[in-house]
């Protein structure tokens, strides 16, 4: 059926009005985003050191060359990827069984759930301090006490396995998030489907493999995507515990940029690093969406 001319005009008018009303919000968002980006791009082409004020000069892509050829860059890139990958693996692989456990009817389930979720609400700086001084401290920490009790030598976490220690802290913070998302997904699983599988003679393990895991594919994708965004920028935990060291062992890209800007006071170089980080984040996002993004379709 043909639309009458009036209807078409009315639709067009609504669309025009809608767009006009959207313009201020979109413009504000655009400016909000473009001004810092433009300034960062501008600074990244300057020789701009806070130790040497008044000597700003245009140096082209020199900052980028310096940042990318800095041996610290490759190390921190590697640290970033190891940190993100390990935390993702730990949270998903532990979060799934934990969610399955919390889905079972147990006494005091609501209290247990609240306690499991609690770490997510602790500020990163606070949880890093707690881990550093109360748990992982080689002399007075709980882990050292436990090791001594068993007759073992306490591990000096931040000297002997600094990156692993940071990974443990960050994984502890993000495990509740993964558990929570997966738990809500489990609760939305159809009861009758599980009963049908029971009638079909599927064991608990088969039901998990053939029904629950496919059902969890999408929430796991969501967990991975969201966590990746935040894990690429982990900073507080490193700053509080190791300060990026020993050496560069726990320096990730975010911390490297911080140290360029506010330890070496090289704004130009830090800006270049920031832009490199943006590119890296986009590359990671591109591959993530390519690999697991199809789970989000349909």
């Amino acid at each position: 059926m043909m639309k009458s001319k009036e209807v078409v005009l009315a639709t067009q008018q609504t669309q025009v009005l809608g767009r006009a009303l959207l313009i201020p919000a979109v413009a504000l968002l655009f400016i909000w985003m473009i001004v810092p980006l433009a300034m960062t791009i501008y600074f990244s082409t300057l020789h701009y050191s806070l130790l040497d004020p008044g000597t700003e000069s245009f140096v082209g892509l020199e900052n980028f060359r310096y940042f990318l050829t800095d041996p610290a860059f490759l190390t921190s890139l590697q640290n970033t990827l190891v940190l993100v990958g390990s935390v993702l693996a730990i949270t998903v692989l532990l979060g799934t069984p934990l969610a399955l456990l919390l889905d079972q009817p147990v006494i005091g389930r609501s209290v247990v759930r609240l306690m499991v979720i609690a770490p997510f609400f602790v500020m990163p700086t606070v949880s890093a301090l707690v881990w550093k001084n109360l748990l992982m401290h080689p002399v007075s920490g709980l882990f050292a006490w436990g090791a001594t009790l068993l007759g073992l030598t306490p591990i000096d976490w931040f000297t002997d396995a600094p990156l692993f220690a940071v990974i443990l802290i960050v994984a502890w913070e993000w495990l509740p998030f993964a558990t929570l998302i997966l738990l809500t997904a489990l609760q939305s699983q159809d009861e009758e489907q599980k009963e049908a599988a029971e009638m079909d003679g599927a064991s608990a393990l088969s039901t998990f493999i053939y029904l629950t895991l496919p059902h969890l594919a999408r929430p796991i994708t969501v967990v991975i995507l969201i966590e990746t965004i935040f894990l690429l920028t982990v900073f507080a935990e490193i700053f509080v515990t190791t300060g990026g060291g020993p050496g560069l062992q726990t320096t990730n890209i975010a911390f490297l940029i911080y140290s360029q800007a506010l330890i070496q006071f090289d704004v130009g170089n830090a800006s270049a690093g920031g832009l490199v980080a943006v590119v890296i984040a986009n590359i990671v996002a591109f591959f993530l969406v390519r690999i697991i993004g199809r789970n989000l379709e349909a």
Partner: protein
Amino acid sequence: MGQITLQRVRKSFGPVNIIKDANLDIENGSFVVFVGPSGCGKTTLLRLIAGLEDVSGGQILIDGRNVVDVPPAKRGLSMVFQSYALYPHMSVRGNIAFGLKMAGLPRPEIERKVEAAAATLNLTPYLDRKPRELSGGQRQRVAIGRAIVREPKAFLFDEPLSNLDAALRVQMRLEVTKLQKQLGTTAVYVTHDQVEAMTMADKIVVLNAGRIEQFGSPIELYERPANLFVAGFIGSPKMNFVPGDAAGEPGAATLGVRPEHLKIGKEGEGWPGTVSVAEHLGSDTFLYVEAGKLGMLTARCIGEFSLKAGDHVWLSPDPARLHRFEKDGSVIRR
């Protein structure tokens, strides 16, 4: 073989008794329908037979063997769920094959059985589709395919047609009945729709508040209801109930007469009343008649009657089709 016997089966959830002492004998190859109002325990009774719920007491025998401690999959029954409960991530083929795969059958045999089941149900063109790409009727058929492929001792149906539209429901009703006769497998079917019960069943179990009110063939239930509840539940429109003394039958507490057994009589014949609503369906006319102290009566008259609201009529009941009930609701047999 698929003979199912319930002996004094009880089920309670905490202090609430859902099923009270159910005794039932389901013959091999018969089509038995559990019918009753919602909350009467019919689905619970089916789930007890399936093994999805544990009995609180009594025995369930399948082919003479007590199965109350046998897990669902080992009872040799298969179930069609109300929501179909298809596995959304598997193709139709995967759905139908799942039970066989879990039973560890060799792949070629699974393939052969799935193809055969799909052919029976006209699902062959859809074998590689996902459930979400199918219509309601097709999904229903996949659920049935999943049930028949395992060649069970009995099928259990839990209101399988309630999610379909009216036309499809009538069609699937026929298909299910035909398939059951063709396979000769025992079927237990739960529904709240008494038309479904009447048309599909060999035997109907009428349940009310956890009790089996009557067990019999559809015509038996229609012609000789055992009590007020069955009389009121079976038949559409509902049976008219009038107080016995008001209707000139002081021997019975309640008198029941079906709408189709009320004739429009001549003046002075039967019970007088005033038409309050007349529904003209063409083939039938439903008259809702205000009959004084007898209350509201429904009469179903074959053909078209040009009666309208406010007209005075005389309704005469067919004396051979009157049902008389005691005070406690049980029928007075003659």
